[in-house]
């Protein structure tokens, strides 16, 4: 019973986040669509939390450690390069006279 309710909880969270996402993204000016995409791409690298849990677990097999190691590296590349390049892009957007 508890298991079933936790699964539906997750679906509720997903649904609400998706609606929130629609509302937020709709308001982003087309001017910033490129930085928006590199930012969302970068924050999706939060999957690193899963990779860390797998790599650092006490019962991690050598296979799990190898896969987790590659996953942590890949997610870090994604997060670091995405966040830095988003900021680099945004720094260039200026109004007249600024």
């Amino acid at each position: 019973m508890h298991q079933a309710s936790s699964t539906t909880d997750l679906l509720f969270v997903f649904m609400l986040a998706a609606f929130l996402g629609f509302q937020l993204i709709k308001r982003v000016s087309p001017l910033l669509h490129s930085p928006l995409m590199s930012l969302t791409n970068a924050i999706a690298a939060v999957v690193i939390v899963g990779a860390i849990t797998i790599t650092g677990a006490a019962d991690a097999t050598p296979l799990a450690k190898t896969l987790g190691f590659i996953a942590v590296t890949a997610a870090t590349i994604n997060a670091v390069s995405g966040l830095l390049i988003t900021d680099r892009m945004l720094k260039m957007f200026r109004r007249k006279g600024e």
Binding site: G21, S38, I43, V46, G50, G56, L90
Partner: protein
């Protein structure tokens, strides 16, 4: 128990920061704050995870994070702005690879203990399917954008049938693995099919459709992260994945509308047919051409000029020269605006970034719907390296392959100047009637050299 509370608190705060980040992306004034939010959110998520009681060894994690930083930071600083779409594509590939591999590790860990048909198995299979197909699809998109691979669509007989079969086979494997967890020998086959399907999904797509592809891959990567959240019972991942998934989805829909493509076509891949069409019949019609020397006085006498940049400007790296031209004209008292078509460039909003790089103020960049009503009162429409986004056939000729695609109505300006290397067709490979209009002047030459010459001629006036 206490640690678990702190971890969940960190995840909750990280979720809030990511939502705030998207909120602040709505305006260039607050957007840099949005990036800070994203950075702090990511830091909280990582630190929160490191203190979890089930995470006991740190050596490998820290080494991997160091390597990732050493690779990621130069990628962000050394990429020219014209290569932003490639960087985004390869970054999607890394993110999706991480998702897929975590799914595989979880599968090996959990599959022996899970009951057949359990929810976690469903989520894991969805996670790996989306993760692995997005990974190879992004690599192909990267290769096409970087022109390691030909950008034209690659098509062969029976392609659609093959795609459907591969996808069905991947789903079949996933189904077996979910309902008969002992069939783990199918697992490598499942991964191979998902990887292969990603390749097949993107090879038939042409260069003109890349903005849509990149947006769609962004969406798939997000949904894969959400699926991972379902598998690991992690609400932070579900929330971030859903935000990323909807973001990519909305941008893909916007790009489809901007090219008048059906979204279902895009979802099922193979939607680059437009670019595959044969080059339009070559007609021997006269065009009027002008030199930079002749064009400069026309620009100087204009009271309003709308510059319409396209990918040709980006390829020629002409954005800085074009910005100089803009500054000169402004100094001469000419009202200059830039008209931006949504799909100009190789990813959504790419042209805005290129012009921002060249220090064109963003309040001078006007979108299609806002500039079109002004075009009939515009003295000169200066088209630089753009073809299809100004093709009046899209509006006037119901039989055109781009019929119905929204265009910037450059042809309505009093004078149209088109900077173009020759009479070759653009990405859509079709004829453009605007070249033959009475009020059109062709400025034959490379976008960068022509912009330089125009600046020089203006200085000498």
């Amino acid at each position: 128990m206490d640690t678990e509370l702190i971890v969940q608190g960190a995840y909750l705060a990280a979720s809030a920061l990511f939502v705030l980040a998207l909120m602040w992306m709505s305006s260039p004034k607050t957007a840099r704050r949005a990036v800070r939010c994203g950075e702090v959110g990511m830091l909280l998520a990582v630190v929160g995870t490191l203190i979890r009681h089930d995470v006991v060894s740190y050596d490998l994690v820290l080494i991997a994070m160091l390597i990732g930083t050493a690779v990621g930071a130069p990628m962000a600083y050394l990429m020219p702005m014209t290569a932003i779409p490639q960087r985004t594509a390869i970054s999607h590939a890394f993110g999706a690879l991480a998702v897929g591999l975590i799914g595989a590790a979880e599968y090996y860990k959990l599959a022996p203990t899970l009951p057949a048909g359990s929810f976690v198995l469903w989520a894991l299979m969805l996670e790996m399917l989306l993760g692995f197909l997005t990974c190879t699809a992004s690599v192909i998109a990267f290769a096409k954008l970087q022109e390691i691979m030909p950008t034209r669509p690659i098509m062969f007989a029976g392609q659609r049938v093959l795609n459907v079969l591969i996808f069905a086979a991947a789903l079949g494997c996933a189904g077996m693995l979910i309902f008969v967890p002992t069939s783990s020998q199918l697992f490598p086959l499942f991964i191979a099919l998902a990887l292969l399907f990603g390749v097949l999904l993107v090879i038939p797509i042409g260069g003109a459709d890349m903005p849509t592809v990149i947006a769609l891959l962004n969406s798939y990567a997000g949904l894969a992260a959400s699926a991972m959240g379902f598998a690991l019972d992690n609400k932070l991942l579900i929330i971030v994945g859903a935000l990323d998934g909807t973001s990519g989805f909305i941008l893909a829909v916007i790009m489809c509308k901007a090219m008048n493509r059906s979204f279902s076509n895009v979802l099922f891949g193979g939607f680059g047919q437009l670019a595959a069409g044969p080059a339009g019949k070559v007609e021997e019609r006269p065009v009027r051409s002008m030199s930079a020397e002749e064009a400069a006085p026309v620009l100087e006498l204009a009271s309003s000029v709308v510059i319409i940049p396209g990918y040709g400007m980006a390829v020629a790296q002409a954005q800085h020269r074009v910005a100089e031209l803009y500054e000169h004209l402004e100094e001469m008292g000419v009202d200059v605006k830039f008209a931006i078509h949504p799909v100009a460039g190789r990813m959504p909003g790419h042209m805005n970034v290129l012009l921002a790089e060249a220090d064109v103020p963003y309040d001078k960049l006007v979108e299609l719907e806002d500039i079109n009503p002004e075009m009939p009162q515009t003295d000169v429409a200066l088209v630089i390296g753009a073809n299809d986004t100004i093709n009046p056939a899209a509006r006037d000729d119901p039989n055109s392959v781009i019929a119905g695609m929204p265009i910037i109505e450059a042809d309505k300006a009093r004078t149209v100047m088109i900077v173009k290397r020759g009479m070759a067709a653009g990405f859509a490979g079709i004829d453009n009637p605007i070249y033959f209009n009475e009020n059109t002047q062709m400025l034959f030459g490379d976008a960068k050299k022509m912009a330089e010459q125009l600046v020089k001629e203006l200085q000498e006036l």
